[in-house]
Amino acid sequence: MNILVGVKVVPDTAAQVRVEDGRVTWGDAPLVLNPWDEFAVEAALQAKEKFGGRVQVLSVGDESALEALRKALAMGCQEAIRIHDPALNNPDALATARVLAAAVQKLQPDLVIFGRQAIDGDTALTPAAVARFLGWPFVGLVTAFGDFDQASGTLTVTRNLEEAKQVLRVRLPAVFTIAKEFAEPRYPTFLGIRKANRAKIPVWSLADLGIQAPEARVQWPEVMQPPKREVQCEFITGETPQEIAAKLVDKLIEEKVL
């Protein structure tokens, strides 16, 4: 089973992201593999270990995307590809999805795995859109893989919905995203890191994919700093826990939240 993982590079979760001169900055915080994509890489590697085949990792982005690709390689992916083209500027989620779909068509994997959401734009739209462009089934927030039935080409998976877990048998090729419960992402090994640093990562242009730059439908004309939450913490004190609890309950009734 050949598997393709799509990953993105994002500012670290601990970054102090803010707006300066009308633009988003995160100071000198590092760029990292999107945390949700670590679960996607883990799931891809497990699928390979369980069903055979290989794992390729793909990112649409400038040179900073190498950080994410190398981390995925260090975790155990066999091959990385970066897609970059000056004609692609400010793609929205659906434009990125069109590019990814074209790359999938070129690479012809049996399974495409994405992260749940990129923690910069927080859109969580790309994966389902890729599935629609390919005409493949989409299963979001997969928590476990079951059996693969060679004869019918179907994989049994479990996914999260808010109300329940849904168990499906999915005809491959398909597009998945991965939930946190799937498994803790593995750490890169020393050997993996060495291999990743040496790996040659090809860059494909849109011409290599045989497509024109897709038009972005969404614009983001302004970013802003959210209004500061003016909270002054009122410390509640007392002689005993009972007294403190009683005072807190009074406050919460006053605030109309009890």
Binding site: T13, P35, A97, D120, E162, L168, V218, P226, V249, V257
Partner: protein, 349 residues
């Protein structure tokens, strides 16, 4: 031509989560501005009751999408059914709640119909053929104004809009639309329904949440006294602690949350995690017990209306965003709070 605002009613086998009705408020605002109509769109089977409720909640017209392939939710079949309806009706704007299914359907529909999509917005306005919205990005550290041309797709942030109350006796014409769907490429084998009491985290009005501090009891609780392995004992204490917080949550009619540290250590299951890589919540009241308030945790709960923090460390960052702080031991404060609620007959259980 009058503007047509479609609201997709999200549901699980005929049961709509609270968030399902919230986009109707945004839809009504937009429909008034454009002098248009609000159309509830309900894919699935057995949706008669939902159709009635949609009318009561403000739909001018209801369209039920019926097909055997829609008996179980799948993004492809639900999304394709919506796309076919759109091809027939030509909606001006589509609204979804930002639930798991809502996001998937929005992405699918937008890709199928080549529409711009603005996800997870807390403010939305339509003017001059454009839809303009504001949404949090970077886990809410920054906001972004986003625009796209009509027709378009928008998903509304959960709890950002108040669901309209149902109006008794309000009715609306109900139509059915039968999409032309191929055999789905995935079969639903069944469901594993988790036991849950009380409200869902993402919808709860009150959340009681615990962190690593829950494992740090001044006195080892009885059931754990006999456990000699220190790791096992820590786990035992933490589980007792979450039991205690669970009892408090029940009394408050609240959902039970946790920090990632608590979840990773196995004190409580993953689905309780609040934060950037957990659930994003926005309750009226969030009570954090033994949670330091790391930036990733704050990203998931910062917009709660009132935050109460209980922590032994007066320097814990959580106090910077808390309205009320208690510097103290959660093992003393939580039981005292429960007792106080019971004493005043405020406890729901």
């Amino acid at each position: 031509m009058t503007a047509k605002i479609a609201v997709v009613v999200d549901h699980f086998q005929g049961q709509a989560p609270g968030a399902a009705w919230e986009p109707f408020t945004a839809a009504r605002q937009v429909a008034s501005a454009l002098a248009g109509e609000v159309v509830a769109v309900i894919p699935g089977t057995d949706t008669e009751a939902l159709a009635q409720e949609a009318a009561a909640r403000g739909a001018d017209r209801v369209i039920r999408l019926e097909h055997p392939a829609l008996a179980d939710y799948r993004a492809a079949t639900y999304g394709e059914a919506l796309a076919q309806l759109d091809a027939q009706e030509g909606f001006t704007l589509w609204l979804f709640p930002t639930t798991i299914r809502g996001r998937e359907m929005a992405a699918w529909l937008a890709a199928a119909r080549n529409l711009g999509v603005l996800p997870d917005v807390f403010q939305v306005e339509v003017k001059d053929g454009q839809v303009e919205a504001i949404r949090p990005v970077y886990a809410g550290k920054v906001w972004s104004r986003v625009t796209t041309s009509l027709p378009a797709v928008v998903t509304t942030r959960v709890r950002a809009f108040n669901a309209p109350e149902p109006e008794a006796g309000r009715e609306a014409p109900v139509e059915t639309f039968t999409p032309d769907l191929a055999e789905p490429a995935s079969d639903v084998q069944g469901y594993e329904v988790e036991e849950r009491e009380g409200p869902r985290l993402t919808e709860a009005r009150i959340i009681v949440s615990g962190g690593r501090g829950v494992a740090n009891a001044p006195k080892v609780p009885d059931p754990c006294a006999g456990v000699t392995d220190p790791k096992e004992q820590e786990l035992c204490i933490a589980k007792e602690g979450f039991k205690m917080l669970g009892e408090l949550a029940r009394a408050l009619g609240a959902a039970l949350g946790a920090s990632r540290a608590a979840v990773d250590a196995g004190y409580i299951s993953y689905d309780h995690q609040v934060g950037q890589t957990g659930k994003v919540v926005s309750p009226d009241l969030y009570i954090a017990f033994g949670i330091s308030g790391a930036i990733q945790h704050q990203a998931g709960m910062r917009t709660s209306k009132i935050i109460v923090a209980v922590n032994t460390d007066p320097e814990a960052p959580i106090f910077k965003i808390a309205r009320y702080g208690i510097v103290g031991d959660l093992w003393e404060i939580a039981p005292a709070l429960l007792e106080e609620l019971r004493k005043r007959s405020l406890a729901k259980a």
